[in-house]
């Protein structure tokens, strides 16, 4: 498409050579390590082919780790998508003062990168046993959060913490999509007598749907692979799959590296699927939102 008339005469062998470093890097530091684990998960310790490792993923301890990880990721992805949608909608289409939008975008850029261990510290200082909110609730409202069954080191505690980077990520990704909603569509539907609800039901949501669903899947993968926040928050007390894999690498807790490989393979499959569908949906949504 960009091959000009002058260029066609001078093919450049250098171009291929120039790509060698990139592909060599990709093979050495991405493809080979991943392939090693994938192949290893189909081998026993003697190197023979086996499906035994995958079968052993279905023991209760590992299965429950996957299940908790999937639930936390799903909860934080769906809540993050929902709240992020409303926040982005309010900033883009909600008739708020003009300064709010750039402020929100900048803050979202910061918060979506404020993950890991510092985020865990922040939530410990907020909702931990001696956290400010816990203390405020107990002192001024006589409400003991922890006696009421809340625990930061639990499913909901972790989900609440993950939302701190999930919501901003949704805002960042969805804002351009909301910008892509053309004003003419709304005007046309209003002229044709459509109500606000009908406009959303039949025009806006069908156009936004791939972006919303796709981003939700991206958020899912995002929290599924997270280790540091959970580790700093709960140590190894919460049995999620990344923590289990971390413990396996550190201390061989499964007493079999090949079972560890299978654990990693399971993670690649889950994040790969959700990211793959995300990319597919994103390509679809680009049809409308140019």
């Amino acid at each position: 498409m960009i091959a000009g008339a002058g260029q066609a005469k001078r093919p450049l062998p250098l171009a291929w050579i120039g790509l060698i470093p990139f592909f060599a890097f990709a093979v050495l530091f991405m493809l080979l390590p991943a392939a090693y684990l994938v192949i290893g998960s189909f081998q026993d310790t003697a190197g023979n082919f086996t499906l035994d490792n995958l079968a052993r993923l279905f023991q209760p301890n590992i299965l429950s780790a996957y299940w908790i990880s999937i639930r936390i990721s799903a909860a934080s992805a769906m809540l993050g998508a929902l709240l992020g949608f409303f926040l982005a909608y309010a900033a883009v289409l909600g008739g708020l003062p003009a300064w709010i939008r750039p402020t929100l975008m900048t803050f979202s850029g910061v918060a979506s990168n404020f993950a890991g261990i510092p985020l865990a510290f922040a939530f410990l200082a907020t909702l931990g046993r001696t956290g400010l909110v816990t203390w405020l609730l107990a002192t001024y409202f006589g409400f003991n959060l922890y006696a009421a069954g809340f625990n930061l080191l639990s499913f909901w505690g972790l989900t609440l913490t993950y939302l701190y980077f999930q919501i901003p990520l949704m805002v960042l990704i969805l804002t351009p999509a909301l910008d892509g909603l053309k004003r003419e569509w709304r005007e046309a539907s209003e002229i044709l007598g459509a109500s606000r609800w009908q406009y959303w039901r039949h025009v806006a949501l069908p156009v936004l749907w791939p972006s919303i669903l796709g981003t939700t899947l991206l958020l899912f993968a995002n929290s599924f692979g997270a280790v540091a926040t959970a580790y700093a928050l709960t140590g190894s007390s919460l049995n999620i799959v990344t923590i289990l894999l971390y413990a396996q690498i550190r201390g061989d807790v499964l007493h079999d590296p090949h079972l560890g490989y299978a654990l990693a393979l399971g993670m690649i499959v889950i994040t790969g699927l959700s990211n793959g569908v995300y990319l597919w949906l994103r390509a679809r949504s680009e049809r409308w939102l140019r």
Binding site: I2, L14, A15, G18, L19, F22, F25, A26, F29, M30, L31, L32, P33, A34, Y36, L37, L83, F86, L87, Y89, A90, A91, G94, G95, L96, I100, M105, T106, S108, G109, V110, S112, N113, F114, A115, G116, I117, P118, A120, F121, A122, A125, T126, Y164, I173, F224, V227, A228, A232, G235, T242, L245, Y246, I249, G260, A264, M267, I268, T271, L279
Partner: protein
């Protein structure tokens, strides 16, 4: 959209509350180290801790090395793809998205298995080789962001005309790449660089599993053993992240352009 403004304000208010309360709590908590009064004691203790200085310096050095290697790897590739081999674009884009598909902990697990001290490429046999492996790991983590930042920078300029103009003036490939193209995509590269910096400074899994004295493992150690210092460190980390994003705003087109696939 008459009655909807209330809903917008409500969403904005709830969002503000959710995002500010943890920051305020952390700040308040970090200043409670001295009994009965607010002070910056925790910050003083943290900043004077030699392990803080060492680990922060270590991570900063690695971040700079990561950025340098990342640019050297990504700039020629994105340039060649754009100018000469657009057919390979989907493959290269797919590769640069891989670090988002394969979780970091899985990648480092692979490193530990392939490059252990008795392997064909014993990266973990000595400290400096492990540092190198860690840096390559960080380049991998930052690849999706770096590639998109540089690529969108290239999209904004007329690569073909610049290249032909430089060629007709007798410039060689290194000159074209580093004296003509590089200055023109500087803002894109800087966006990628600051995002990379933010990622590397806070990274925990790679450094921890490769046993290197980086800032992330130091944070984890302090978090497990101290009360007030972690809150001070969280505030410092937040400020560093904020500074990186602010610099992206200054030099580039906002953090949005540096994020992948938006």
């Amino acid at each position: 959209m008459k009655g909807s403004r209330f809903g917008s304000w409500l969403a904005f208010a709830i969002g503000t509350l959710y995002f500010l309360v943890p920051l305020i709590s952390t700040l308040e908590f970090s200043m409670r180290m001295r009994r009965g009064e607010y002070s910056f004691e925790a910050y003083r203790v943290v900043l004077q801790d030699p392990r803080f200085q060492q680990s922060f310096l270590y991570s900063t050095t690695l971040a700079l090395a990561t950025i340098a290697i990342g640019v050297l790897l990504v700039l020629p590739t994105a340039y060649i793809i754009r100018l000469r081999l657009p057919k390979l674009r989907p493959i290269v884009e797919f590769i640069t998205l891989l670090p988002l598909v394969v979780p970091a902990i899985v990648i480092v697990f692979g490193y530990l298995r392939i490059y252990n001290s008795s392997s064909w490429l014993p990266f973990t046999a000595s400290a400096w080789a492990t540092d190198l492996l860690l840096t390559f790991g960080y380049v991998t983590l930052s690849l999706p962001y770096m590639y998109r930042a540089v690529d969108s920078g290239l999209r904004a300029i007329d690569v073909r005309t610049l290249t032909e103009a430089a060629e007709s003036l007798g410039a060689g490939w290194p000159t074209i790449l580093f004296k003509v193209i590089l200055p023109n995509v500087r803002s894109g590269i800087l966006s990628g660089a600051f995002l990379t910096f933010a990622i590397v400074i806070g990274e925990f899994v790679f450094a921890s599993l490769l046993n290197r004295p980086a800032f992330g493992p130091y944070l984890q150690l302090v978090g497990a053993n101290r009360a007030y210092e972690p809150a001070a460190l969280a505030i410092i980390a937040f400020l560093v992240t904020w500074a990186c994003m602010g610099l992206i705003q200054v030099f580039g087109r906002g953090p949005r352009s540096a994020r992948p696939s938006l």
